[in-house]
């Protein structure tokens, strides 16, 4: 029954964290949903530990995507496959490291807490931690988060324990914890959406070591691909269409959306009709689609009366160091990060910057050998070839990473818009990122790198070297081009002139348009964003269903 005239209750665009939860919750409530995903469907059978296929060849990423980047309006524009956005069912959750944090209460009130900051566009969320708390728990339950309840004295307060107990620690986790204790910090088990026991019809983790950047072959790692979509498909009320790139949201004369128009793999044009449209294409894709959907009613882009669609685009900064020890750290086992420290998170302007972030051990450099071997070449002074280089390769099992996730300040000039000079293979204007650091970001980044270096030494590392990643040597001439953590292009807020969607993530201007991905974040937080995207989507879905039942949509 895929004829043109069928009208679905809801069309959801994107199947990652924000879209997947909506699809699940709305089909569970009895609604007929059509989901449009621009990537393919990769099942767990497509995932394994073949590093060449998954990590090096970037299995879950769009291969022929084009986007552009410039530092600011006066800088030259670079063209390439720059943005780090997964294109497949499950979105970036297919390959996430499964770090499952709740934001701290103060993360929702950055402007009130810090006051206005020159050059930044700080904003409060229209919701508080307390409003989101039940939905955080809902997300933790559905995605089976394993953690140490009460282990993080600097974390958000919890009412219930994590649904699953913490995982074992490998030697690298113990090294990290040793160093942390020497520094006076409180190490704890990093909460992850990875099963530490059989849970939710999914098996326990087998600790294969390679799940960062890979899909999980057994679905022990939770994602919308392994949790939400199977449930939704089982209702029989989901029409999931893959390789469907939405290019326009058409409007009726009375200003309501009619549905979505999309291109299939071969450029064939299709249209679906729906009473409600949920947009969750990622902070970049969501902004691009709204801007592509400009019309006479909305000449500057759909739902863009505020002019803020695409604005305040924020990432995270990732300070990091690599450290070599004398003993086998077993970083090729487990998952990305078992241990964390949050002592450095609370904002403290006496450090020379505001806001902060979380730090953790990581096997990012040394869970699989090609990434390690090729990655070494990013360090200046690394021998390019020969016996000295081979000797460095032998450090693989003794190398670990100390890394941070730091909050970036939002800036109005950081934005996603349509590139006037570059089209994709279908002739659509590609997204253009204009993005520079706030001075606060650079100071915070350096400070965290120094702390991580001290921590690695305290842990007994025989050699510590900075990781030369984008942002690892930030100064005002070096900026982050791309990032897997994308937020802010469609801020939520109570004031229609200062935000794109209201507190229920419904457009201020188009009554049947909802946005549930990271683009609604008014600020980036100092943690990985996914659990917050999930929790917020559960919150919105709850409201959506209540409104639908009272016939108020």
């Amino acid at each position: 029954m895929k004829n043109k005239t069928r009208i679905y209750d809801v069309c959801v665009i994107g199947t990652g964290a924000g879209g997947g939860v909506m699809i699940d919750q709305l089909t569970a409530a009895g609604m007929d949903v059509v989901a449009l995903e621009r990537g393919p469907f990769l099942s767990s059978a497509a995932f394994n530990e073949d590093e060449l296929k998954t990590v090096i060849r970037r299995q879950v990423f769009a291969k022929d995507k084009i986007d552009t980047y410039r530092v600011d309006q006066d800088s030259p524009t670079e063209k390439g496959n720059i943005a780090e956005i997964a294109h497949c069912v499950g979105g970036s959750m297919s390959h996430w490291g499964a770090w499952a944090w709740r934001f701290r209460p103060d993360d929702f009130h950055v402007l009130s807490k810090e006051g206005p900051v020159a050059g930044a566009s700080l904003a409060d969320w229209p919701i508080s931690y307390d409003e989101l708390e039940p939905y955080y728990y809902r997300a933790e339950l559905d995605f089976g988060v394993a953690g140490d309840s009460g282990g993080n004295p600097f974390g958000a307060p919890r009412k219930q324990a994590y649904p699953n107990p913490p995982h074992p620690w490998r030697p690298s986790s113990r090294r990290f914890a040793q160093g942390a204790k020497k520094m006076g910090y409180t190490p704890f088990a990093l909460p992850v959406a990875i099963n530490s026991r059989v849970y939710g019809n999914r098996p326990a983790c087998m600790y294969g070591g390679a799940c960062r950047s890979n899909g999980c072959p057994i679905n022990a790692k939770a994602s919308t691909l392994s949790v939400s979509l199977p449930r939704a498909l089982a209702t029989g009320r989901l029409d999931l269409r893959t390789d469907a790139m939405v290019y326009e949201l058409p409007l009726s004369e009375n200003g309501r959306l009619l549905g979505a128009r999309y291109l299939d793999e071969n450029g064939g044009r299709h249209e679906v009709r729906a009473r409600q449209v949920v947009l969750a294409a990622g902070a970049m894709g969501t902004a691009q689609l709204l801007l592509l959907s400009a019309s006479t009613l909305f000449p500057d882009g759909l739902a863009n009366g505020s002019g803020l669609v695409g604005r305040n685009y924020s990432y995270h900064h990732y300070p990091g160091v690599a450290a070599v020890f004398e003993d086998d750290l077993r970083t090729y086992t487990g998952y990305e990060a078992h241990a964390a420290v949050d002592d450095l998170h609370p904002s403290d302007s006496s450090r020379g910057f505001i806001r902060g972030g979380v730090i953790a051990e990581s096997n990012a450099l040394s869970n699989q050998p090609i990434a390690f071997a090729v990655g070494l070449h990013q360090f200046s002074g690394h021998p390019r070839w020969g016996l000295a280089m081979k000797q460095r390769l032998r450090e693989f099992p003794r190398t670990m990473t100390f890394a941070g996730i730091c909050e970036e300040l939002s800036m109005d000039g950081n934005q996603v818009d349509l590139d006037p000079d570059t089209n994709d293979k279908f002739g659509l204007p590609v997204p253009r990122v204009t993005k520079k650091n706030h001075p606060n970001d650079a100071v915070m980044h350096r400070w965290f790198c120094d702390k991580l270096s001290e921590l690695a030494q305290a842990a007994g590392a025989s050699k510590v070297y900075p990781i030369r990643m984008p942002g690892a040597f930030v100064d005002n001439n070096e900026h982050l081009k791309s990032n897997p953590h994308n937020h802010g292009t469609c801020r939520m807020g109570n004031n229609p002139s200062a935000s794109v969607v209201d507190k229920w993530c419904r457009s201020h201007e188009v009554p049947n348009l909802w946005i549930t991905d990271g683009s609604v974040f008014p600020s980036a937080g100092g943690y990985n964003p996914t659990l917050t995207i999930l929790a917020n989507a559960y919150r919105v879905a709850d409201y959506f269903v209540r409104q639908a039942r009272s016939l108020s949509l």
């Binding site: 394994n48 530990e49 073949d50 590093e51 060449l52 296929k53 090096i56 060849r57 970037r58 022929d64 496959n81 780090e84 970036s92 390959h95 490291g97 499964a98 770090w99 074992p168 620690w169 983790c205 087998m206 600790y207 294969g208 070591g209 960062r212 072959p217 995270h316 990732y318 086998d328 077993r330 090729y332 086992t333 487990g334 990060a337 990012a364 699989q368 090609i370 390690f372 071997a373 090729v374 990655g375 070449h377 990013q378 070839w385 020969g386 016996l387 280089m389 081979k390 390769l393 032998r394 693989f396 990473t401 890394a403 941070g404 990781i467 030369r468 984008p470 791309s482 990032n483 897997p484």
Partner: protein, 209 residues
């Protein structure tokens, strides 16, 4: 970071390792013909090109008390990948090898493959420094970028699964101390994760292919 560090590593390679990024970004879906790569018959190179590339890989990961790129058959990996995912790079390889052999003739009166170890390293230094006399103006990349590409390909051949034609008898994994992908062999026990029990590498429990 979680879902990010490796990708950031590779994105960074875009600046540190310009052409390497080209190598990473190729290829839409999984390698279809991986098994065929185990065959050692040249598909991309002729005999002389094979010998030259093999000699470069031997400089990159030399043999010491343990195997190097030669024993791991990295040249076979490169030969196979240049008719598959990285087919776009084959003309570049062929032109660059010609330039390399001309450079070897110019300085030492013999081909790169026939040069001694010291001479080979001197020639690679010239590539690293972009000081190559016979580099064709028409090539999209410079000698240094070509060398970087071969380094990345060699490391891939040394450390990718043996089914892709390199890492012969797990030699690369043995050198770096990687036990191999164990997920499909049952994963790691709690005691192994915690470092309390030995890890048995895949080659100790799997029949050699």
């Amino acid at each position: 970071m979680s879902n990010s560090l490796s990708r950031r590593n590779f994105v960074q390679l875009g600046t540190a390792f310009g052409t390497a990024l080209l190598v990473f970004a190729q290829s839409p879906r999984p390698l279809a013909a991986a098994a065929a790569a185990v065959s050692g018959n040249p598909e991309a190179f002729d005999q002389a090109q094979w010998a030259s590339v093999e000699a470069i890989t031997a400089c990159i990961v030399p043999t010491d008390h343990e195997p190097g790129a030669l024993e791991a058959n990295c040249v076979n990996f490169i030969d196979k990948v240049l008719v598959r995912e990285d087919a776009a790079l084959l003309p570049l390889y062929q032109a660059a090898i010609t330039a390399l052999d001309k450079e070897a003739q110019l300085h030492f009166g013999r081909s790169f493959a026939n040069a001694d170890e010291n001479e080979r390293n001197q020639l690679l230094e010239l590539f690293e420094a972009n000081k190559v006399s016979h580099w064709p103006d028409t090539l999209a990349i410079n000698p240094q970028q070509f060398l970087q590409t071969v380094i990345v390909h060699t490391l891939m051949g040394f450390l990718a699964s043996p089914e892709y034609g390199g890492n012969r008898q797990y030699s690369g994994w043995k050198v770096v101390g990687y036990p191999g992908p164990e997920h499909h062999m049952g994963g790691y026990s709690r005691a192994q994760v915690e470092g309390r029990a030995a890890v048995l590498p895949v080659w100790a429990v799997k029949r050699e292919s």
